[in-house]
């Protein structure tokens, strides 16, 4: 009988994502960075299920479901067009202001929603965290990834919208996924910090909406980044979302800034955020089940 159970072939095919049949050593947290990305890969199906759950529940709980995804940025765009476009007459890089604004709101709405859900993801999943093991890193990842469905819908609406304004996408549209990736990484980098911090201090969930508000103003959502004086442009570029939004707008409409040195600054910044976030989250991971 022992030979049957010790045969890894009996259990292994049943468990494509769970820990392998090897030996697991359980020790106190060493305090050193012990990132296990290969474990994250083993649990990729669970990541998929968390994303799937979030998406399903979001659309099940609301009466008009998917329409919300569209209505929110559309209304914001309408109001912004009225005040910033018509009344304040902000320049919009030669684009109709509604298109200019909506092209920024689509990635921005994704980003702000991802930050908010990453902030609360550890607390929202407290019951599962305290009852079963999986790499906790999956949770902020799932919070950031589940917003992509909304983003895709928003993107389709944006394309139709731009088309209605007579804007035809050029070959640069192929670069859109690149900027989406940058937005995802930015959300992940900041989300890792916020999710771990919120597990320690519940105050963080009150801070995040403020953070998002300030960040909107520090990003070229309603105004063009041309308005930022040239000599401060590089500081401005340290805000990764500035690079994302400018790049996104440029890639979709073919007008405005092509990505420049500020994009390089943005990308560097994002990578630092993600790395720092991984280290910080990892330090917290060991005690999260005791804290939430």
């Amino acid at each position: 009988m022992a030979s049957v159970t010790s045969n890894p072939r009996v259990a292994a095919p049943l468990a494509p994502h769970a820990a392998t049949s090897g030996t697991i050593r359980i020790e106190p947290p060493s305090g050193w960075f012990e990132l296990r990305l290969e474990e994250l890969w083993e649990y990729r199906e669970l990541l998929y299920f968390f994303v799937w759950r979030d998406v399903k529940i979001r659309y099940k709980q609301t009466a008009i479901g998917i329409l919300w995804v569209v209505i929110q940025p559309l209304l914001t765009m309408l109001v912004a067009s009225l005040f910033f476009g018509r009344l304040a007459k902000l320049p919009s890089q030669g684009l109709p202001y509604p298109v200019f604004c909506f092209a920024a709101l689509v990635p921005w709405t994704y980003f702000s929603a991802a930050l908010l859900s990453a902030t609360s993801v550890m607390v929202d999943n407290q019951r599962v965290i305290t009852k079963v093991y999986f790499p906790r890193l999956i949770l902020p990842f799932s919070a950031v990834l589940s917003g992509l469905v909304d983003l895709a819908i928003g993107l389709v609406v944006l394309l139709i919208f731009a088309f209605a304004f007579g804007i035809r996408p050029t070959v640069t549209v192929l670069l859109v996924p690149l900027f989406i990736l940058l937005a995802v990484l930015t959300a992940l980098g900041v989300g890792l910090w916020l999710s771990a911090l919120n597990a320690l201090y519940r105050d963080v969930k009150y801070v995040t909406p403020f953070l998002v508000q300030f960040w909107t103003l520090a990003s070229p959502v309603y105004y063009s980044s041309n308005m930022v004086p040239e000599r401060y442009r590089w500081i401005y570029g340290l805000n990764p979302m500035a690079g994302v939004i400018d790049g996104f707008r440029w890639a979709l409409t073919g007008t405005g800034h092509p990505p420049s040195s500020s994009l390089f600054a943005s990308t560097t910044m994002v990578l630092l955020l993600v790395l720092g976030g991984l280290v910080f989250f990892n330090r917290m991971e060991g005690s999260i089940a005791d804290r939430v």
Partner: protein, 405 residues
């Protein structure tokens, strides 16, 4: 001698008291830092609480090990460390094989999702792959007897249906090592037996199981060896019958510490034990109907007590009083007395309850006993299929309608 599946060596776990409860707000931490800045530096001195203290044990491959001990003795902490939910403070453990843990019924269930969706979600969270769930799906659904409702959101399920689905998923886990915490204590008796049977199959298939339970009969039936954990320490480890009976006698012996304040100790008399009368041996503390039933309580009297006042109370697990009674002017001579309470019916909902017994004389309290073990009610549920319409009384009823032309 088969190979070692789990080796635990000197595992300790420290919790800072109130860590989970008060660390919620940054404000609190800041306030603490302002009030007593030095205290942050002397953190080690603040209240620490060792949930486990230098625990070592070995579990062999294919063995079913029972963990027993009072609430708060550290059993669940040990399971949480072995399933990697929390990390130990000191010591190490090695686990050889894939681990599945069942610390809760319906882990990961979401009320808005259907039974089908929850099966996939919960299965994935408990460690099954998508293909594995798809392959076992029909088996799980028929085991849960939920074919008709599998596409209904679980928020519309009755508690029974919910538990059945949760168990069915859990019962189809096939890890090499299974860690189970007390989850078998709920659900209706017929389905519990089915699950126990399935677990027995799993054990016979050579899987390693660690089972935490307060139901000692369950431990006796399923486990070869048992570990008695007390105050974070391993008190005894060995063959199940020995450990369980040592535990039982400690629970009913005079130097038991639970539920009896030092002030209430008295040499005159003490309650020893309780049981359901006329029940077959297997279920002396488990009630499987709504009555009639008789409970008997053993009282040992050392010196005569005149004008005794005796009280009895039954609480549910949330400490709500279910029933209480008292009697005055009783005369107890030295010796063992059996106090029997007979109920023509006792319509309790299926869950666990605790007896509290007291004895007073004219000079004060003689004994106050929080009876152990608890009373497990496993009667059929006669109430509404929906949880929110389940009340305190578990009464069988019949409806008849007479209509007049």
């Amino acid at each position: 001698m088969s190979a070692v599946a789990i080796q635990v060596s000197g595992i300790s776990k420290r919790y800072r008291r109130g860590m989970a409860a008060t660390s919620g707000l940054l404000r609190d931490s800041l306030a603490l830092a302002f009030r007593s800045p030095l205290r942050l530096l002397r953190r080690e001195r603040t209240e620490n609480f060792w949930a486990l203290n230098d625990v070592s044990l070995e579990v062999c491959e294919g063995e079913v090990l029972g963990l027993i001990g009072r609430n708060g003795s550290g059993k669940t902490t040990l399971l949480k460390i072995l399933s990697r939910i929390t990390r130990p403070t000191a010591g190490w453990a090695e686990v050889h094989g894939r681990v599945g843990s069942l610390l809760e019924v319906g882990t990961g269930f979401h009320p808005e999702l259907t039974g089908r969706e929850n099966t996939y979600l919960s299965g994935a969270i408990l460690g099954m792959g998508k293909q594995e769930i798809t392959r076992k799906f029909d088996e799980i659904v028929s085991f849960a007897e939920l074919e008709k409702f599998i596409d209904t959101p679980v928020k519309h399920y009755s508690s029974g249906m919910y538990v059945r689905l949760a168990f069915a998923i859990a019962a189809h886990l096939e890890p090499e090592i299974l860690l189970v915490d007390e989850v078998l204590a709920v659900g209706d008796i017929k389905f519990q037996k089915k699950c126990l049977g399935k677990m027995g199959d799993v054990a016979r298939a050579g899987r390693t199981i660690i089972l935490v339970s307060h139901q000692l009969n369950q431990i006796r039936r399923l486990c070869q060896r048992a570990v008695w954990v007390d105050g974070g320490l391993v008190r005894q480890i060995g063959p199940t019958p020995e450990v369980v009976s040592a535990y039982e006698s400690a629970m009913s012996s005079p130097d038991r510490t639970s539920g009896r304040g030092a002030s209430s100790r008295s040499q005159k008399a003490r309650f020893l034990s309780w049981r359901i009368q006329n029940s077959y041996i297997d279920s002396t503390h488990r009630l499987e109907s709504v009555g009639p039933v008789s409970f008997s309580f053993q009282l040992e009297v050392h010196s005569p007590i005149r004008f005794a006042h005796h009280g009895i109370a039954l609480f549910d697990s949330e400490r709500r009083l279910m029933w209480a009674q008292s009697s005055d002017d009783i005369l107890f001579d030295p010796g063992i007395h059996e106090l029997t309470y007979s109920f023509p019916f006792l319509p309790l909902c299926p869950r666990s309850y605790n007896w509290q017994l007291s004895l007073w004389d004219d000079s004060g309290n003689v004994d106050l006993w929080e009876a152990l073990p608890e009373l497990i009610v496993a009667a059929p549920n006669y109430q509404h299929a929906k949880d929110e319409w389940n009340g305190m009384l578990n009464l069988p009823t019949s409806l008849s309608i007479t209509s007049k032309g």
